[in-house]
Protein backbone atom coordinates (compact mmCIF):
# COMPACT_ATOMS: atom_id res chain seq x y z
CA UNK A 1 0.00 0.00 0.00
CA UNK A 2 2.86 2.39 0.75
CA UNK A 3 3.69 2.65 -2.92
CA UNK A 4 0.56 4.60 -3.73
CA UNK A 5 0.49 6.86 -0.73
CA UNK A 6 0.00 10.31 -2.25
CA UNK A 7 -0.20 12.55 0.82
CA UNK A 8 1.65 12.13 4.07
CA UNK A 9 1.37 14.69 6.86
CA UNK A 10 3.31 14.30 10.11
CA UNK A 11 3.22 16.50 13.21
CA UNK A 12 1.87 19.46 11.30
CA UNK A 13 1.17 22.55 13.40
CA UNK A 14 0.44 26.05 12.21
CA UNK A 15 -0.17 29.33 14.00
CA UNK A 16 -1.81 32.34 12.38
CA UNK A 17 0.45 35.40 12.09
CA UNK A 18 -1.24 36.86 15.20
CA UNK A 19 -0.21 33.80 17.21
CA UNK A 20 -3.57 32.00 17.32
CA UNK A 21 -2.97 28.29 16.83
CA UNK A 22 -4.82 26.99 13.75
CA UNK A 23 -3.52 23.43 13.40
CA UNK A 24 -2.14 21.26 16.18
CA UNK A 25 -0.08 18.16 15.52
CA UNK A 26 -1.96 16.83 12.51
CA UNK A 27 -1.23 13.40 11.05
CA UNK A 28 -2.82 12.31 7.82
CA UNK A 29 -2.19 9.76 5.09
CA UNK A 30 -4.10 9.71 1.85
CA UNK A 31 -3.85 7.04 -0.83
CA UNK A 32 -4.25 7.26 -4.57
CA UNK A 33 -7.82 7.69 -5.92
CA UNK A 34 -9.21 8.20 -2.44
CA UNK A 35 -11.80 10.90 -1.82
CA UNK A 36 -11.42 12.38 1.62
CA UNK A 37 -13.82 14.86 3.20
CA UNK A 38 -12.43 17.25 5.77
CA UNK A 39 -15.31 18.13 8.05
CA UNK A 40 -15.63 20.43 10.99
CA UNK A 41 -17.21 23.64 12.24
CA UNK A 42 -16.13 27.12 11.16
CA UNK A 43 -12.67 27.92 12.41
CA UNK A 44 -11.67 24.28 12.89
CA UNK A 45 -8.68 24.68 10.55
CA UNK A 46 -10.10 22.84 7.53
CA UNK A 47 -9.05 25.37 4.91
CA UNK A 48 -5.76 26.00 6.69
CA UNK A 49 -4.97 22.30 6.39
CA UNK A 50 -5.91 22.37 2.71
CA UNK A 51 -3.58 25.30 2.01
CA UNK A 52 -0.69 23.26 3.39
CA UNK A 53 -1.09 20.69 0.63
CA UNK A 54 0.43 22.91 -2.05
CA UNK A 55 2.62 25.08 0.13
CA UNK A 56 0.35 28.12 0.09
CA UNK A 57 0.84 27.97 3.84
CA UNK A 58 3.80 26.28 5.45
CA UNK A 59 3.67 25.31 9.10
CA UNK A 60 5.87 23.28 11.35
CA UNK A 61 6.05 19.57 10.65
CA UNK A 62 6.23 17.51 7.52
CA UNK A 63 4.01 17.46 4.45
CA UNK A 64 5.00 15.04 1.70
CA UNK A 65 3.19 14.96 -1.63
CA UNK A 66 3.89 11.97 -3.90
CA UNK A 67 7.22 11.47 -2.19
CA UNK A 68 8.24 15.13 -2.52
CA UNK A 69 8.46 17.15 0.70
CA UNK A 70 6.66 20.52 0.57
CA UNK A 71 9.57 22.95 0.78
CA UNK A 72 10.41 26.26 -0.83
CA UNK A 73 12.61 24.62 -3.45
CA UNK A 74 9.99 22.08 -4.48
CA UNK A 75 6.99 24.38 -4.71
CA UNK A 76 6.91 24.36 -8.50
CA UNK A 77 6.79 20.56 -8.59
CA UNK A 78 4.26 20.42 -5.75
CA UNK A 79 1.93 22.91 -7.36
CA UNK A 80 1.73 21.02 -10.62
CA UNK A 81 0.74 17.92 -8.66
CA UNK A 82 -1.79 19.50 -6.31
CA UNK A 83 -4.59 21.51 -7.87
CA UNK A 84 -6.07 23.84 -5.27
CA UNK A 85 -9.48 25.39 -5.82
CA UNK A 86 -10.23 28.32 -3.54
CA UNK A 87 -13.59 28.81 -1.88
CA UNK A 88 -14.46 31.97 -3.76
CA UNK A 89 -14.37 31.67 -7.56
CA UNK A 90 -13.84 35.43 -7.66
CA UNK A 91 -10.37 34.80 -6.25
CA UNK A 92 -9.72 31.84 -8.49
CA UNK A 93 -10.79 33.48 -11.73
CA UNK A 94 -8.67 36.56 -12.33
CA UNK A 95 -8.30 36.60 -16.12
CA UNK A 96 -10.41 38.52 -18.61
CA UNK A 97 -11.84 35.39 -20.24
CA UNK A 98 -12.65 31.80 -19.24
CA UNK A 99 -10.09 30.53 -21.75
CA UNK A 100 -7.29 32.63 -20.24
CA UNK A 101 -8.15 31.43 -16.76
CA UNK A 102 -8.20 27.75 -17.67
CA UNK A 103 -5.01 28.19 -19.73
CA UNK A 104 -3.15 30.03 -16.94
CA UNK A 105 -1.90 26.90 -15.16
CA UNK A 106 -0.81 24.97 -18.26
CA UNK A 107 0.93 28.07 -19.68
CA UNK A 108 2.88 28.49 -16.46
CA UNK A 109 3.87 24.85 -16.72
CA UNK A 110 5.63 25.78 -19.95
CA UNK A 111 3.50 23.64 -22.26
CA UNK A 112 3.30 24.49 -25.95
CA UNK A 113 0.25 26.27 -27.26
CA UNK A 114 -1.33 23.35 -29.00
CA UNK A 115 -1.15 21.28 -25.83
CA UNK A 116 -2.56 24.16 -23.76
CA UNK A 117 -5.47 24.60 -26.16
CA UNK A 118 -6.18 20.87 -26.04
CA UNK A 119 -6.10 20.80 -22.23
CA UNK A 120 -8.40 23.81 -21.94
CA UNK A 121 -10.86 22.19 -24.31
CA UNK A 122 -10.78 18.93 -22.38
CA UNK A 123 -11.14 20.58 -18.95
CA UNK A 124 -14.07 22.70 -20.09
CA UNK A 125 -15.74 19.71 -21.65
CA UNK A 126 -15.39 17.74 -18.41
CA UNK A 127 -17.14 20.57 -16.56
CA UNK A 128 -19.85 20.84 -19.21
CA UNK A 129 -18.69 24.29 -20.28
CA UNK A 130 -18.01 23.82 -23.98
CA UNK A 131 -18.28 27.12 -25.83
CA UNK A 132 -17.60 29.25 -22.74
CA UNK A 133 -14.01 30.06 -23.80
CA UNK A 134 -14.59 33.67 -24.76
CA UNK A 135 -16.94 34.52 -21.89
CA UNK A 136 -15.90 36.80 -19.09
CA UNK A 137 -16.03 35.34 -15.59
CA UNK A 138 -18.13 38.20 -14.33
CA UNK A 139 -21.02 37.34 -16.61
CA UNK A 140 -21.31 33.73 -15.44
CA UNK A 141 -23.71 32.34 -12.86
CA UNK A 142 -22.30 31.27 -9.50
CA UNK A 143 -22.53 27.60 -10.50
CA UNK A 144 -20.76 28.22 -13.79
CA UNK A 145 -18.04 30.18 -11.99
CA UNK A 146 -17.50 27.25 -9.62
CA UNK A 147 -17.20 24.86 -12.56
CA UNK A 148 -14.76 27.14 -14.38
CA UNK A 149 -12.73 27.36 -11.16
CA UNK A 150 -12.53 23.56 -11.14
CA UNK A 151 -11.60 23.52 -14.83
CA UNK A 152 -8.66 25.84 -14.07
CA UNK A 153 -7.00 23.07 -12.08
CA UNK A 154 -8.27 20.13 -14.17
CA UNK A 155 -6.36 21.61 -17.12
CA UNK A 156 -3.16 21.21 -15.08
CA UNK A 157 -3.75 17.47 -14.92
CA UNK A 158 -2.78 17.43 -11.25
CA UNK A 159 -2.72 14.08 -9.47
CA UNK A 160 -4.40 15.54 -6.39
CA UNK A 161 -7.32 17.95 -6.25
CA UNK A 162 -7.86 20.02 -3.13
CA UNK A 163 -11.29 21.69 -3.11
CA UNK A 164 -12.31 24.29 -0.56
CA UNK A 165 -16.09 24.31 -0.02
CA UNK A 166 -16.93 23.43 -3.63
CA UNK A 167 -20.70 23.83 -3.20
CA UNK A 168 -20.62 26.95 -1.07
CA UNK A 169 -23.12 29.62 -2.20
CA UNK A 170 -24.82 27.33 -4.71
CA UNK A 171 -28.54 26.62 -5.00
CA UNK A 172 -29.58 22.94 -4.70
CA UNK A 173 -29.68 22.41 -8.47
CA UNK A 174 -26.28 24.02 -9.00
CA UNK A 175 -24.88 22.06 -6.11
CA UNK A 176 -26.19 18.78 -7.55
CA UNK A 177 -24.76 19.52 -10.97
CA UNK A 178 -21.35 20.32 -9.52
CA UNK A 179 -21.34 17.19 -7.35
CA UNK A 180 -22.10 15.05 -10.40
CA UNK A 181 -19.23 16.65 -12.28
CA UNK A 182 -16.82 16.15 -9.38
CA UNK A 183 -17.84 12.49 -9.10
CA UNK A 184 -16.52 11.92 -12.63
CA UNK A 185 -13.07 13.24 -11.76
CA UNK A 186 -10.82 10.22 -11.20
CA UNK A 187 -8.01 12.01 -9.31
CA UNK A 188 -7.38 11.80 -5.57
CA UNK A 189 -9.66 14.39 -3.96
CA UNK A 190 -9.46 16.22 -0.66
CA UNK A 191 -12.68 18.14 -0.11
CA UNK A 192 -13.23 20.65 2.64
CA UNK A 193 -16.89 21.15 3.45
CA UNK A 194 -19.31 21.64 6.29
CA UNK A 195 -22.20 20.09 4.39
CA UNK A 196 -22.54 16.45 5.36
CA UNK A 197 -24.65 15.50 2.28
CA UNK A 198 -21.92 16.85 -0.02
CA UNK A 199 -19.30 14.84 1.83
CA UNK A 200 -21.45 11.70 1.69
CA UNK A 201 -21.99 12.05 -2.06
CA UNK A 202 -18.36 12.72 -2.88
CA UNK A 203 -16.22 10.91 -0.34
CA UNK A 204 -15.82 7.51 1.25
CA UNK A 205 -13.62 8.74 4.05
CA UNK A 206 -14.06 11.54 6.57
CA UNK A 207 -11.49 13.43 8.63
CA UNK A 208 -13.02 15.48 11.44
CA UNK A 209 -11.27 18.56 12.71
CA UNK A 210 -12.11 20.55 15.80
CA UNK A 211 -10.18 23.56 17.04
CA UNK A 212 -7.17 22.65 14.93
CA UNK A 213 -6.97 19.03 16.04
CA UNK A 214 -7.84 15.90 14.13
CA UNK A 215 -10.59 14.29 16.19
CA UNK A 216 -11.50 11.33 13.99
CA UNK A 217 -10.44 9.68 10.75
CA UNK A 218 -12.97 7.11 9.67
CA UNK A 219 -14.97 5.77 6.75
CA UNK A 220 -18.08 7.69 5.76
CA UNK A 221 -20.26 4.70 6.66
CA UNK A 222 -18.83 4.57 10.15
CA UNK A 223 -19.40 8.28 10.58
CA UNK A 224 -23.03 8.04 9.47
CA UNK A 225 -23.67 5.36 12.11
CA UNK A 226 -21.95 7.21 14.94
CA UNK A 227 -24.74 9.32 16.47
CA UNK A 228 -22.61 10.70 19.31
CA UNK A 229 -19.91 11.92 16.99
CA UNK A 230 -22.42 13.37 14.54
CA UNK A 231 -24.26 15.23 17.27
CA UNK A 232 -21.04 16.54 18.71
CA UNK A 233 -20.30 18.14 15.36
CA UNK A 234 -23.82 19.48 15.01
CA UNK A 235 -24.88 17.18 12.17
CA UNK A 236 -28.45 15.87 11.95
CA UNK A 237 -28.07 12.25 13.10
CA UNK A 238 -31.53 11.21 11.80
CA UNK A 239 -30.75 12.58 8.38
CA UNK A 240 -27.37 10.81 8.51
CA UNK A 241 -29.15 7.56 9.31
CA UNK A 242 -31.35 8.01 6.28
CA UNK A 243 -28.27 8.74 4.14
CA UNK A 244 -26.59 5.63 5.53
CA UNK A 245 -29.57 3.48 4.52
CA UNK A 246 -29.52 5.04 1.08
CA UNK A 247 -25.76 4.52 0.70
CA UNK A 248 -26.11 0.91 1.84
CA UNK A 249 -28.96 0.29 -0.56
Amino acid sequence: MTSNKVIEINHLSYDYPDGTPALKDIHLEVYQHESVAILGPNGAGKSTLLYHLNGTLMGEGEVVILGIPVEKNNLKEIRRRVGLVFQSPEDQLFCPTVFDDVAFGPLNMGLDEEDVRHRVEKALEMMGLKGFEGRSAHHLSEGEKKRVALATVLSMDSEILALDEPTDNLDPAGSRLLIERIQYIPQTKIIVTHHLPVAVDLCERAVLLFEGRKIEDLSMRELLKDRTLLERFGFDADYAEWMYARKKG
Binding site: R79, L84, D91, D100
Partner: protein, 255 residues
Protein backbone atom coordinates in the same frame (compact mmCIF):
# COMPACT_ATOMS: atom_id res chain seq x y z
CA UNK B 1 -25.36 42.10 -10.86
CA UNK B 2 -24.24 42.60 -14.43
CA UNK B 3 -22.29 45.52 -15.78
CA UNK B 4 -21.08 46.13 -19.29
CA UNK B 5 -19.43 49.47 -19.16
CA UNK B 6 -16.31 50.24 -21.18
CA UNK B 7 -17.10 47.85 -23.98
CA UNK B 8 -20.74 48.51 -24.73
CA UNK B 9 -21.79 47.11 -28.14
CA UNK B 10 -18.56 45.16 -28.44
CA UNK B 11 -20.52 41.98 -29.06
CA UNK B 12 -22.46 43.23 -32.07
CA UNK B 13 -21.94 41.14 -35.21
CA UNK B 14 -20.31 43.19 -37.96
CA UNK B 15 -17.29 43.07 -40.29
CA UNK B 16 -15.52 45.66 -38.10
CA UNK B 17 -16.15 43.66 -34.93
CA UNK B 18 -14.63 40.57 -36.53
CA UNK B 19 -11.33 42.30 -37.35
CA UNK B 20 -8.24 41.54 -35.29
CA UNK B 21 -7.82 43.98 -32.42
CA UNK B 22 -4.30 44.89 -33.56
CA UNK B 23 -5.54 46.28 -36.87
CA UNK B 24 -8.20 48.33 -35.10
CA UNK B 25 -5.81 49.72 -32.51
CA UNK B 26 -3.35 50.83 -35.21
CA UNK B 27 -6.00 52.40 -37.44
CA UNK B 28 -7.86 54.27 -34.68
CA UNK B 29 -4.64 55.55 -33.16
CA UNK B 30 -3.57 56.77 -36.59
CA UNK B 31 -6.88 58.66 -36.75
CA UNK B 32 -6.06 60.31 -33.43
CA UNK B 33 -2.47 61.14 -34.41
CA UNK B 34 -3.49 62.62 -37.75
CA UNK B 35 -6.27 64.63 -36.11
CA UNK B 36 -4.12 65.96 -33.31
CA UNK B 37 -1.13 66.82 -35.50
CA UNK B 38 -3.08 68.85 -38.07
CA UNK B 39 -3.32 72.65 -37.83
CA UNK B 40 -6.73 73.93 -36.68
CA UNK B 41 -7.37 75.44 -40.09
CA UNK B 42 -7.49 72.11 -41.94
CA UNK B 43 -11.29 72.04 -42.07
CA UNK B 44 -11.39 69.78 -45.10
CA UNK B 45 -9.19 67.17 -43.44
CA UNK B 46 -11.29 67.26 -40.27
CA UNK B 47 -14.48 66.75 -42.24
CA UNK B 48 -12.86 63.85 -44.10
CA UNK B 49 -11.78 62.24 -40.82
CA UNK B 50 -15.24 62.69 -39.32
CA UNK B 51 -16.88 61.21 -42.42
CA UNK B 52 -14.52 58.24 -42.36
CA UNK B 53 -15.22 57.62 -38.66
CA UNK B 54 -18.98 57.85 -39.19
CA UNK B 55 -18.60 55.47 -42.13
CA UNK B 56 -16.81 52.95 -39.91
CA UNK B 57 -19.48 53.36 -37.21
CA UNK B 58 -22.22 52.64 -39.77
CA UNK B 59 -20.30 49.64 -41.12
CA UNK B 60 -19.97 48.40 -37.52
CA UNK B 61 -23.77 48.71 -37.10
CA UNK B 62 -23.40 50.97 -34.10
CA UNK B 63 -26.20 53.35 -33.11
CA UNK B 64 -24.83 56.79 -34.03
CA UNK B 65 -26.98 58.65 -31.51
CA UNK B 66 -25.57 56.60 -28.68
CA UNK B 67 -21.99 57.21 -29.82
CA UNK B 68 -22.56 60.95 -30.11
CA UNK B 69 -23.96 60.97 -26.60
CA UNK B 70 -20.79 59.28 -25.39
CA UNK B 71 -18.68 61.99 -27.00
CA UNK B 72 -20.18 64.33 -24.41
CA UNK B 73 -17.60 63.05 -21.93
CA UNK B 74 -15.30 65.74 -23.35
CA UNK B 75 -17.68 68.49 -22.16
CA UNK B 76 -16.14 69.08 -18.71
CA UNK B 77 -12.70 69.45 -20.30
CA UNK B 78 -14.05 71.79 -22.93
CA UNK B 79 -15.71 73.84 -20.23
CA UNK B 80 -12.36 74.43 -18.55
CA UNK B 81 -10.88 75.61 -21.85
CA UNK B 82 -13.93 77.78 -22.61
CA UNK B 83 -13.74 79.52 -19.25
CA UNK B 84 -10.10 80.34 -19.77
CA UNK B 85 -10.53 81.56 -23.36
CA UNK B 86 -11.23 85.25 -22.45
CA UNK B 87 -8.01 85.40 -20.52
CA UNK B 88 -5.81 84.30 -23.35
CA UNK B 89 -3.62 86.54 -25.53
CA UNK B 90 -5.40 89.75 -26.31
CA UNK B 91 -4.01 90.21 -29.80
CA UNK B 92 -7.32 90.91 -31.43
CA UNK B 93 -10.99 90.91 -30.54
CA UNK B 94 -13.10 88.12 -32.01
CA UNK B 95 -15.91 89.59 -34.11
CA UNK B 96 -18.84 90.79 -32.01
CA UNK B 97 -17.97 88.98 -28.86
CA UNK B 98 -17.31 91.96 -26.68
CA UNK B 99 -19.46 91.17 -23.68
CA UNK B 100 -19.20 94.62 -22.24
CA UNK B 101 -18.49 93.38 -18.78
CA UNK B 102 -15.85 95.81 -17.75
CA UNK B 103 -13.88 95.36 -20.93
CA UNK B 104 -14.01 91.55 -20.91
CA UNK B 105 -13.55 90.44 -24.49
CA UNK B 106 -12.83 87.22 -26.30
CA UNK B 107 -9.63 87.20 -28.28
CA UNK B 108 -9.42 85.71 -31.74
CA UNK B 109 -6.52 83.43 -30.89
CA UNK B 110 -8.52 82.27 -27.87
CA UNK B 111 -11.35 81.25 -30.19
CA UNK B 112 -8.94 79.40 -32.45
CA UNK B 113 -7.59 77.55 -29.44
CA UNK B 114 -11.13 76.65 -28.41
CA UNK B 115 -11.96 75.37 -31.89
CA UNK B 116 -8.69 73.46 -31.95
CA UNK B 117 -9.53 71.73 -28.69
CA UNK B 118 -13.16 71.05 -29.62
CA UNK B 119 -12.51 69.42 -32.98
CA UNK B 120 -9.46 67.44 -31.93
CA UNK B 121 -10.90 66.12 -28.70
CA UNK B 122 -14.16 65.19 -30.41
CA UNK B 123 -12.37 63.30 -33.19
CA UNK B 124 -10.02 61.65 -30.72
CA UNK B 125 -12.76 60.59 -28.34
CA UNK B 126 -14.91 59.40 -31.24
CA UNK B 127 -12.02 57.19 -32.44
CA UNK B 128 -11.54 55.71 -28.99
CA UNK B 129 -15.27 55.12 -28.57
CA UNK B 130 -15.34 53.33 -31.91
CA UNK B 131 -12.39 51.18 -30.89
CA UNK B 132 -13.93 50.20 -27.55
CA UNK B 133 -17.38 49.66 -29.07
CA UNK B 134 -16.08 47.30 -31.73
CA UNK B 135 -13.56 45.39 -29.61
CA UNK B 136 -14.24 43.61 -26.34
CA UNK B 137 -11.92 44.53 -23.50
CA UNK B 138 -10.14 41.14 -23.37
CA UNK B 139 -9.48 41.36 -27.13
CA UNK B 140 -8.22 44.91 -26.72
CA UNK B 141 -5.77 43.82 -24.03
CA UNK B 142 -4.63 40.90 -26.13
CA UNK B 143 -4.18 43.19 -29.11
CA UNK B 144 -2.08 45.63 -27.08
CA UNK B 145 0.03 42.73 -25.87
CA UNK B 146 0.60 41.41 -29.39
CA UNK B 147 1.63 44.90 -30.46
CA UNK B 148 4.40 44.81 -27.90
CA UNK B 149 2.88 46.49 -24.87
CA UNK B 150 4.72 45.29 -21.72
CA UNK B 151 3.09 42.23 -20.19
CA UNK B 152 3.02 43.74 -16.71
CA UNK B 153 0.99 46.67 -18.02
CA UNK B 154 -1.54 44.53 -19.84
CA UNK B 155 -1.82 42.24 -16.83
CA UNK B 156 -2.52 45.11 -14.47
CA UNK B 157 -5.11 46.48 -16.88
CA UNK B 158 -6.82 43.14 -17.18
CA UNK B 159 -6.94 42.76 -13.39
CA UNK B 160 -8.38 46.22 -13.11
CA UNK B 161 -11.06 45.33 -15.63
CA UNK B 162 -11.85 41.99 -14.03
CA UNK B 163 -12.10 43.33 -10.50
CA UNK B 164 -13.73 46.66 -11.25
CA UNK B 165 -17.03 44.78 -11.57
CA UNK B 166 -16.57 43.05 -8.26
CA UNK B 167 -15.60 46.30 -6.58
CA UNK B 168 -18.70 48.01 -7.94
CA UNK B 169 -20.88 45.12 -6.74
CA UNK B 170 -19.28 45.33 -3.34
CA UNK B 171 -19.86 49.07 -3.22
CA UNK B 172 -23.54 48.61 -4.14
CA UNK B 173 -23.98 45.98 -1.44
CA UNK B 174 -22.37 48.24 1.14
CA UNK B 175 -24.51 51.16 0.10
CA UNK B 176 -27.63 49.04 0.40
CA UNK B 177 -26.56 47.86 3.83
CA UNK B 178 -25.96 51.46 4.85
CA UNK B 179 -29.28 52.69 3.46
CA UNK B 180 -31.24 49.96 5.19
CA UNK B 181 -29.83 50.99 8.54
CA UNK B 182 -29.56 54.70 7.96
CA UNK B 183 -32.15 57.02 9.41
CA UNK B 184 -30.87 60.35 8.17
CA UNK B 185 -28.52 62.18 10.45
CA UNK B 186 -26.37 65.21 10.11
CA UNK B 187 -24.33 65.88 7.04
CA UNK B 188 -21.12 65.50 8.99
CA UNK B 189 -22.19 62.10 10.23
CA UNK B 190 -22.94 60.99 6.67
CA UNK B 191 -19.44 61.91 5.48
CA UNK B 192 -18.00 59.89 8.32
CA UNK B 193 -19.98 56.85 7.16
CA UNK B 194 -18.78 57.32 3.60
CA UNK B 195 -15.22 57.53 4.90
CA UNK B 196 -15.67 54.23 6.71
CA UNK B 197 -17.11 52.67 3.58
CA UNK B 198 -14.18 53.75 1.45
CA UNK B 199 -11.79 52.40 4.08
CA UNK B 200 -13.61 49.06 4.25
CA UNK B 201 -13.65 48.83 0.48
CA UNK B 202 -9.92 49.43 0.38
CA UNK B 203 -9.24 46.78 3.02
CA UNK B 204 -11.45 44.25 1.28
CA UNK B 205 -9.74 44.92 -2.05
CA UNK B 206 -6.37 44.60 -0.41
CA UNK B 207 -7.27 41.20 1.05
CA UNK B 208 -8.78 40.11 -2.23
CA UNK B 209 -5.53 41.05 -3.93
CA UNK B 210 -3.64 38.78 -1.56
CA UNK B 211 -6.01 35.87 -2.16
CA UNK B 212 -5.82 36.33 -5.92
CA UNK B 213 -2.03 36.29 -5.72
CA UNK B 214 -2.19 33.03 -3.76
CA UNK B 215 -4.52 31.59 -6.39
CA UNK B 216 -2.00 32.62 -9.06
CA UNK B 217 0.87 31.02 -7.16
CA UNK B 218 -1.18 27.86 -6.74
CA UNK B 219 -1.37 27.57 -10.49
CA UNK B 220 2.36 27.84 -10.95
CA UNK B 221 2.77 31.61 -11.38
CA UNK B 222 6.39 32.62 -10.91
CA UNK B 223 6.52 36.23 -11.95
CA UNK B 224 6.13 35.93 -15.68
CA UNK B 225 3.44 34.57 -17.93
CA UNK B 226 4.62 33.01 -21.17
CA UNK B 227 3.46 34.86 -24.27
CA UNK B 228 1.28 33.06 -26.73
CA UNK B 229 2.08 33.55 -30.37
CA UNK B 230 -0.08 35.86 -32.43
CA UNK B 231 -2.48 34.71 -35.12
CA UNK B 232 -1.74 35.86 -38.67
CA UNK B 233 -3.63 38.84 -39.97
CA UNK B 234 -6.17 38.07 -42.70
CA UNK B 235 -7.19 40.02 -45.80
CA UNK B 236 -9.86 41.91 -43.89
CA UNK B 237 -7.25 43.28 -41.49
CA UNK B 238 -4.89 44.17 -44.35
CA UNK B 239 -7.73 46.05 -46.09
CA UNK B 240 -8.58 47.91 -42.88
CA UNK B 241 -4.92 48.71 -42.26
CA UNK B 242 -4.67 50.26 -45.73
CA UNK B 243 -6.52 53.18 -44.14
CA UNK B 244 -3.24 54.07 -42.40
CA UNK B 245 -1.27 55.13 -45.53
CA UNK B 246 -4.46 56.72 -46.88
CA UNK B 247 -4.76 58.84 -43.73
CA UNK B 248 -1.10 59.81 -43.96
CA UNK B 249 -1.56 60.93 -47.57
CA UNK B 250 -4.64 62.92 -46.54
CA UNK B 251 -2.64 64.56 -43.77
CA UNK B 252 0.12 65.55 -46.19
CA UNK B 253 -2.18 67.00 -48.87
CA UNK B 254 -4.94 68.60 -46.84
CA UNK B 255 -3.39 69.03 -43.44
Amino acid sequence: MKHAFLDHHSHVESPIHHLDARAKIIVFFTFILIGVSSPPTSFFLFSLLATALIGIALLARLPLGHLLKKILVVLPFLLVVTISVPFMKKDGVGGGYNLGLGGLSISQSGLWILWNVVIKSCLGVFSIILLSSTTSFPQLIRGMEKLGSPKIFTMLTSFMYRYSFILIDEMHRMRRARDSRSFGGRWLWQTKVIGHMVGTLFLRSFHRGERVYLAMLSRGYHGTIPQTTAERLGWGEVAFLSLVPLLLVMRIYWG
